[in-house]
């Protein structure tokens, strides 16, 4: 609760900072300090939590568990890492720098609510607080037509999915007379009301939209490609992880007992997501667009957490969110240094900037799921969770085949960097601060790959 309040207040402060301070660099510094402060609040809240005790607020509308606070802390840390890695690129996007950072704070408010809601209306509010800043961010480069197109497309599609979400909530409320997600009457019943079933289906559709799962993924490539690159990085990582934690919370808390009736639908969605994301990514010419499709493919893997109704899935989601977030942020940070976003733009990078190429290789290994990197452990946990379901072996094998396909396009970047010759054009010289930060990020990827339990402290 402390974190939600702090993030809201800091977001409002940040908006006013934008009025008062005109120097972009100063705004960046202030924002960084405020993110550190928010991380501090999260850690403080984490320390005051007792193991295994959930605190409730507003008459059981919010249930804050150690897991929620831990997830919040990790996402705040990821945001801080993001600001550190790409701060200079963020302030180059447009004029209203203060507002961008304020919007990040609001996205975090949405995230915090999604990790701890216990009421469908609050879930709805959380999703909207998460989404609306993203619509704005994707259109923040006002001089670019593609950016405006991305924003409009995202907004219209998002509005549709919000409608469907509300419809789902209404149907379930109509059937049960209950908004509290842990008190639905069908949790004790043998038979399931068709109205509830329809509601669940609607909820699946709208969440699938939010996490860009097929066949509700069509907005993703255009929005991610059109948005200013630093914001794409944020939307594809923290934004996506937050939507997932909302997804898993509702489906595991409320619909676990009726999982037989929706598991197969979601399994097919997962298979389709993996297939479309990976196969389409193979044919991309631009690394940025490839990363957009790869984020669809990775969402396919993250959906395993929702399908597998086990405690393992919750742990897996933590590791997957963090592993995917760090590697993707790192990859985008490297991408932002380059002028040309096509694969050819990477040609010969290893000769010109060996460190940049090396860290990019580690991020790619992580995304492709090579052992010793965080991405491998993440995939491992997901597969383990899915396999513990018993009847999903076909999906696991299919996912592994798709992971092999993913190596195909991820390694195209490595081939370009190391085995091809060329003269890659950089936007700016890579400063030594950037190098140290990128090296630390790569080190973090390997650290999580070797000892993933640092992300799973006892009691969450």
């Amino acid at each position: 609760m402390k974190a939600i309040i702090a993030a809201t207040i800091l977001g409002i402060i940040m908006m006013y900072v934008g009025f008062v301070v005109k120097e972009k660099k100063t705004i960046l510094s202030i924002a960084t300090i405020l993110f550190v402060a928010l991380l501090g609040v999260n850690v403080w809240e984490l320390n005051t939590m007792k193991i295994g005790v959930t605190e409730s607020f507003f008459n059981y509308q919010l249930l804050i568990s150690p897991y929620s606070v831990w997830f919040n802390t990790l996402m705040t840390a990821a945001t801080l890492l993001y600001v550190l890695l790409m701060g200079n690129d963020i302030i180059r996007v447009g004029k209203h720098v203060g507002e961008y950072f304020a919007l990040f704070f609001f996205i975090l408010v949405g995230t915090f609510i999604l990790t701890s809601y216990n009421n469908m209306l609050l879930m709805f509010i959380g999703i909207e607080i998460l989404s609306i800043p993203q619509y704005i961010l994707s259109g923040s480069d006002k001089r670019s037509l593609k950016s405006s197109e991305a924003s409009l497309k995202y907004f219209l599609m998002g509005a549709f999915s919000t409608g469907i979400l509300l419809m789902g909530i209404t149907l379930i409320y109509g059937a049960t007379g209950e908004f509290n997600i842990s008190k639905f009457s069908f949790m004790q019943l043998e038979h399931i009301n068709p109205m509830v079933l329809t509601g669940i289906l609607f909820l699946i559709v709208s969440f699938a939209f939010k996490v860009s799962a097929a066949p509700m993924h069509f907005w993703t490539a255009d929005v991610y490609d059109g948005s200013p690159t630093p914001f794409t990085a944020f939307m594809a990582t923290v934004g996506k992880a937050a939507a997932f934690v909302g997804f898993i919370r509702l489906f595991h808390t409320s619909f676990a007992s009726v999982s037989d009736s929706w598991q197969l639908v979601l399994a097919i969605i997962t298979a389709a997501t993996l297939f479309i994301g990976n196969i389409t990514a193979v044919f991309q010419q631009s690394v940025k667009r490839m990363l957009a499709y790869s984020s669809i493919a990775q969402a396919g893997f993250m959906l395993f957490a929702v399908i597998s109704v086990t405690a393992l899935a919750w742990q897996g989601l933590v590791i997957y969110s963090v592993a995917y977030t760090i590697a993707t942020l790192g990859m985008f940070a490297v991408l932002l240094k380059l002028k040309d976003y096509t694969f050819d733009g990477f040609n010969g990078l290893a000769k010109k900037e060996p460190l940049l190429a090396f860290v990019a290789t580690i991020f790619i290994f992580s995304l492709a799921g090579i052992p010793l990197t965080a991405g491998f452990m993440a995939k491992f946990m997901m597969l383990q969770a899915a396999m513990s379901q018993g009847n999903l072996m076909w999906l696991v094998i299919f996912a592994l085949l798709m992971a092999a396909v993913s190596a195909f396009y991820y390694f195209k970047v490595i081939i370009a960097m190391y085995f091809k010759t060329g003269d890659p054009q950089l936007v700016v010289e890579v400063s030594s601060t950037d190098k140290i930060l990128l090296a630390l990020t790569a080190l973090l990827v390997i650290l999580i790959g070797v000892v993933p339990q640092i992300l799973l402290p006892a009691g969450i």
Binding site: P371, M387, A403, A404, A407, I415
Partner: protein, 474 residues
């Protein structure tokens, strides 16, 4: 604890090589000699009373431990790895390599992966090293290989990666049969596998077998191999053909046959048919090759086919023969590549039609080539004989109802082996000198050392194989 050094020494040597610039060549050689010393110590002194092993908690939540152990089979393969690396580093010492620091660093890192695969007594650790052995080789071949290196190496990578992922699914499934902090240990995986119903065993069997068959490689999963061997720099080809293919056969012996005994017995006939068909198929293809590296590559497929067939024959004699032959094949194929490398450098081509007359111009190389070729076709008094003899007897004794057909067809493969190997010797060493190179450089010091070590192994183990049998039958 000594086992950790087997991983640590090549790792440190690799890291230092990366920083050492031009001295990398010597750093790597020194590191590989140190790891040879340790692996020899493990092979000779350890294990007489109890198997050396180490186990440290690693990821308790998913049941993985950092656990290494070295029984006879492992000690033998570590020793082989320890021998092959210094020998590999001895050849090509005069050749100028672009960016030697990275080259030798990656070579040493691939040794870490190989040692780890042989030592790991935990399924997840095994998988880690299995993949990690691949990454340095991928970069080595793609950066320093022949003209078509990028596409060919990528094909190799994708093949093995698909296989590894299948294996991953199987290992996770097996580990989930047990709870607790050591669910992934070898003992628990075996217990889990044996307890599975037959239907599940079949599925897991194929997931594992495909991964191992790609690595070995067994027909029809072999298509990456001739291209990869041809395009990789010869030192990397040695690592691939002498050691990395052993990962496949080792994995079959360690992680497949004991884990799924019923499914193995069920599918043994099919696997042996594939393997033995592969022997004949590869031998026939080897006969028509004009590129010397491709010829040796196909001959390697034939030899691996025989070993795989023997593994699935699963009699005492075939198993013992297999252990002996794994070591001997490692030595022989390395020796073959060393000679091929010398010939290629001196004639400046891999084309067999443009060679000839080596016996006149460089008799020492020609004599070495003849001895090594004899070992390759398993003539008595060479080390190849004892292993292949045991394999054949083992296949003949197998419980399969087709055992006679298997032996006869595999024997045909051996005759074909003699045909292509001797025809290669004839084209390289005798006849007209078609190369246009009049004088051929003599062997230099380092090459002498490498050839003498390998030929000594070939002859000593051919005449007196007992020490090797003692080691592997601990």
């Amino acid at each position: 604890m000594i086992l950790v050094f087997l991983l640590l020494i090549p790792f440190l040597a690799g890291v230092v090589s990366f920083l050492a610039k031009d001295a990398a060549k010597n750093v790597a050689l020194f590191g590989s000699l140190c790891s040879l010393a340790v692996s020899a110590y493990v092979a000779i002194f350890c294990g007489t009373e109890q198997v050396p092993s180490i186990s440290i908690p690693w990821m308790p939540t998913i049941g993985a431990q950092f656990s290494l152990s070295a029984d006879g089979l492992t000690a033998m393969l570590c020793l082989l790895t320890g021998i092959i690396f210094p020998v590999t580093l001895l050849i090509n010492r005069n050749k100028n390599i672009e960016n030697p620091a990275a080259y030798y660093g990656l070579i040493m890192l691939s040794q870490v992966g190989l040692m780890g695969v042989f030592l790991a007594a935990d399924a997840l650790l095994f998988y880690f090293f299995w993949e990690l052995a691949l990454i340095p080789v991928y970069f080595l071949s793609s950066l320093w290989g022949g003209e078509r290196r990028i596409a060919v190496t990528f094909k190799f990578f994708v093949y093995t990666f698909v296989g590894s992922l299948m294996m991953l699914a199987a290992l996770i499934y097996l580990s989930m049969q047990t709870n607790g902090v050591n669910a992934m240990s070898w003992d628990n995986i075996i217990a889990a596998g044996k307890a599975l119903p037959l239907m599940q065993q079949h599925i897991i069997f194929w997931l594992l077998f495909v991964a191992f068959a790609i690595k070995m490689p067994i027909f029809p999963f072999h298509t990456w191999q001739p291209d990869a061997y041809e395009q990789a720099p010869t030192q990397v080809t040695i690592i691939l053909s002498a050691l990395m293919v052993k990962m496949g056969i080792y994995a079959v012996l360690r992680w497949l046959i004991p884990v799924l005994p019923e499914a193995t017995a069920f599918w043994a006939d099919l696997v042996m048919t594939l393997a033995i068909f592969g022997i004949v198929y590869a031998s026939l293809l080897a006969m028509v090759q004009t590129n010397i590296k491709r010829l040796v590559a196909y001959s390697s497929i034939a030899h691996m086919g025989l070993m795989c067939a023997a593994a699935f024959a699963n009699t005492d004699l075939s198993n013992h023969g297999l252990l002996v032959q794994m070591f001997n094949h490692g030595i022989n194929i390395t020796a073959m590549w060393v000679i091929v490398n010398m010939v290629e450098q001196r004639y400046g081509t891999q084309d067999l039609k443009k060679m000839g007359g080596l016996a006149n111009t460089a008799p020492a190389i020609a004599i070495a080539l003849v001895i090594i070729s004899f070992a390759n076709i398993a003539l008595p008094l060479t080390n190849g004989f004892i292993g292949e003899f045991m394999l054949f007897t083992g296949i003949f004794q197998s419980a399969s109802q087709y055992h006679i057909i298997f032996m006869v067809v595999a024997g045909l493969g051996i005759i074909l082996g003699a045909v292509y190997t001797l025809s290669m010797v004839q084209k390289v060493a005798y006849g007209e000198n078609n190369s246009g190179v009049a004088t051929v450089a003599k062997m230099n010091g380092a090459e002498w050392v490498a050839v003498i070590i390998l030929v000594a192994f070939i002859i000593v183990l051919g005449v007196f194989p007992q020490p090797l049998l003692d080691l592997v039958l601990l």
